[in-house]
């Protein structure tokens, strides 16, 4: 128990962006040989002054094989300062690490030795299913009054997906969150506008639709998720669905503005059936006035086109299209709400947009690495063709550094990179005025451990929610 508020909790995004630079990164890694060997959480040295900068300092193996580590998160963060449920003396200390395939949830303590976290609790899949009705836990967010997780579906592999909570103190699953889910069926990501008592959730597909790889029939039929859902955070009821149209397949990562007085956010769409493009949409409340009971609206603000390609260089799934889709699998917004990063896992490109005016994003920077066709190398290893592409992206609190990894999801990795993804994690340096550049000294090769989400020690741009502007 702390005598003063945890120093890594920041009342406002403004204060968070003045935080000192991070020195450790935690990375969830999937074992490509997952049927036999367990997944792991990697600890990477990101302190540029350290002798081991860019090296893996520690590895924590999970107790079982086949978890499919994917996304994860902190037990507590800046939302603990929210005025209606303040408990600022809990610590940002435990990492909640779910297995997306196994539905097992691991709790790791980073305090005794931050470089070698210790597994202190494992919640077995049966308990999660029994208490919440959900399986395949995905996004983890530290909320003002509990730890929240989204889930893809039910124990039989069908829907509905949804949200459930864990107790802040003992991490026991508390039950399903939704009191009334309305038309919502698919689950994936979720996020909050704490200043507006609003939750937002997005759609991928049920476990049966994704666990054996993307199903081309379902995809071309527009059967994957294509809507956003808005919820009353206090009453836990569905308020509104926004359908982007069936051609917009897989509406994934949600990045709301960090400033709690701002009522807008960005969501990425993986692929359009019309032209294989990816897109980023802006949801917003007209007039931004939370006192009005106005409806949320959505507008496409960024479109990233597919690139024509030689069919011979394409995996069987894409050969017929003679093009490589960008496959926008993740986006991330800097804490000052100024720069938006877009991972094009298919084309092997990381884009930076200036979204100072969220309605009119401006492309501010771009870096090529990996890619289905491009196979671009890293400056640290000229000439070595890289596979996989920019995927999970994380931004430092001060917005000066960006980290990203190259693996998506085992069954989908196989379809888009049949040669077998070799894991890597890289870092960008950000020019304060816009523009990005790969750090030549930071190239972490993880081999058969395929890295997914990155979490920074002390918090990052997607880990914390704020109640004060």
């Amino acid at each position: 128990m702390l005598l003063k508020a945890d120093p890594t909790f920041y009342p406002s995004p403004k204060l968070a962006s003045q935080a000192p630079a991070e020195s450790l990164a935690y990375v969830a890694a999937l074992n490509a040989n997952g049927s036999e060997r367990p997944d792991a959480l990697l600890v990477v040295d990101v302190d540029s002054k350290s002798r081991k900068y860019g090296e893996i300092l520690g590895q924590v193996d999970m107790p079982h094989a086949g978890d499919e580590l994917h996304h994860f998160g902190w037990n507590a963060c800046s939302s603990a300062l929210c005025p209606y449920a303040p408990h600022p003396h809990v610590e940002r200390r435990y990492l909640i690490v779910p297995g997306l395939r196994s539905s097992r949830i691991h709790v790791l303590d980073t305090k005794p030795n931050p470089k070698k976290p210790k597994i202190v609790k494992v919640i077995e899949p049966e308990i999660v299913a029994e208490r919440t009705g959900y399986t395949r836990p995905h996004t983890v967010h530290c909320g003002p009054d509990g730890i929240y997780l989204s889930a893809l579906g039910s124990p039989n592999g069908e829907g509905p997906g949804g949200i459930f909570a864990l107790d802040h103190y003992n991490f026991e699953p508390l039950g399903r969150w939704e009191v009334e889910r309305g038309p919502q069926y698919f689950g994936y990501d979720f996020a909050w506008h704490l200043g507006y008592d609003t939750a937002v959730s997005s759609e991928w597909g049920t476990p049966n639709m994704v666990e054996n790889g993307v199903n081309p029939e379902l995809l071309l039929g527009g059967k994957y998720g294509h809507s956003l859902h808005f919820w009353d955070l206090r009453k836990r009821r569905h308020l509104q669905a926004l359908d982007l149209g069936a051609e917009q397949q897989m509406v994934l990562e949600l990045r709301p503005a960090h400033d709690p007085t701002k009522a807008y956010g960005f969501v990425g769409v993986v692929v359009s059936l019309k032209d294989l493009s990816s897109s980023i949409w802006l949801w917003h409340k007209p007039n931004g006035d939370g006192r009005s009971n106005g409806k949320w609206e959505i507008k496409k603000v960024i479109e990233i086109p597919a690139e024509p390609a030689d069919p011979e260089k394409l995996p069987p799934l894409l050969q017929g299209f003679k093009a490589v889709p960008p496959l926008l699998t993740d986006i991330n917004l800097s804490i000052d709400d100024r720069f938006l990063y877009a991972s094009c896992w298919g084309t092997g490109e990381m884009r930076q947009y200036d979204v100072s005016d969220p309605f009119n994003p401006r492309l501010a920077g771009s870096v090529h690495i990996g890619g289905i066709v491009r196979r671009a190398a890293h400056p640290a290893k000229q000439g070595k063709e890289l596979n996989g592409g920019p995927q999970m992206v994380e931004v430092s609190r001060d917005g000066r550094r960006v980290y990203f990894t190259n693996s998506l999801y085992a069954a989908w990795d196989k379809q888009f990179y049949p040669d077998g993804i070799e894991g890597w994690m890289v870092k960008l340096d950000v020019n304060p005025g816009g523009g990005i550049e790969l750090d030549r000294k930071f190239f972490v090769e993880t081999g058969e451990l395929r890295p997914n989400q990155v979490r920074l020690q002390g918090g990052d741009a997607s880990s914390d929610f704020y109640c004060y502007p």
């Binding site: 003063k4 909790f9 009342p11 005025p83 209606y84 449920a85 008592d197 109640c467 004060y468």
Partner: protein
């Protein structure tokens, strides 16, 4: 009025409750910042104070109701036991009402404040003061010189106690909320981040102290 110290103590406890960010000044500040209006801070403080007052009054009236059935000694032990248990519980868990949020009207704020004060044992913390002899005789007309049978608190005393406590709480909470609101542009909330001591712990200790006080006075 023979002795003033219980009233002073009630006011001081009010100031102490006002100081705790969890009792409402922080909520009022956040609502003011969300709406970017100082008046929103002030408008939020009133229902928060009302909820706090209600929580205090309910506990005191409940105490008064059982006064008739229990001898003073059992009352003291009972109050001490409850305070002690609550204090111990709060050492380990900082629970708070669920279902609150940032888009709340006056009635919701008052309810929140009522629940928050009740869950924290804000009213209970005052009972040992009310158990003190001077308080009990104060409004007992023509206090006889017999060895004291437990005198009932008069309605007037309860109302006055609630008012003094709440007013003191409101003044301290108001000063803090406005201070932070006015310095927000220059300082942000840096001060909050660095001065937010563990009130939950302090609170638990206060409950334990109150438990001992119930037995001693």
């Amino acid at each position: 009025m023979t002795q003033r110290w219980p009233w002073t103590l009630l006011a001081l406890l009010g100031a102490y409750h006002g100081l705790n960010p969890g009792m409402g000044w922080l909520f009022a500040l956040a609502l003011g910042l969300q709406e970017k209006r100082r008046s929103a801070v002030l408008c939020s403080l009133l229902p928060i104070a009302a909820g706090h007052a209600a929580a205090i009054a309910v506990v005191i009236f409940a105490f008064r109701a059982i006064q008739d059935f229990l001898p003073l000694k059992s009352l003291r032990w009972g109050v001490a036991a409850i305070l002690f248990a609550l204090g111990l519980y709060r050492l380990f868990r900082a629970s708070h009402p669920r279902g609150a949020g940032m888009r709340v009207g006056g009635r919701e704020l008052a309810t929140w404040s009522f629940l928050m004060a009740s869950a924290h044992g804000a009213g209970l913390m005052l009972i040992p003061v009310l158990l003190a002899q001077p308080m009990l005789v104060m409004h007992h007309s023509m206090a006889d010189t017999m060895p004291m049978p437990l005198a009932r608190l008069s309605i007037a005393a309860i109302v006055l106690a609630t008012l003094i406590h709440t007013l003191s709480m409101l003044i301290v909470a108001g000063i803090l909320a406005i201070l932070f609101f006015e310095t927000y542009e220059q300082m942000g909330l840096k001060l909050l981040q660095h001065t937010w001591i563990n009130f939950d712990l302090l609170w638990a200790v206060a409950l334990l102290v109150a438990a001992s006080a119930a037995l001693l006075f």
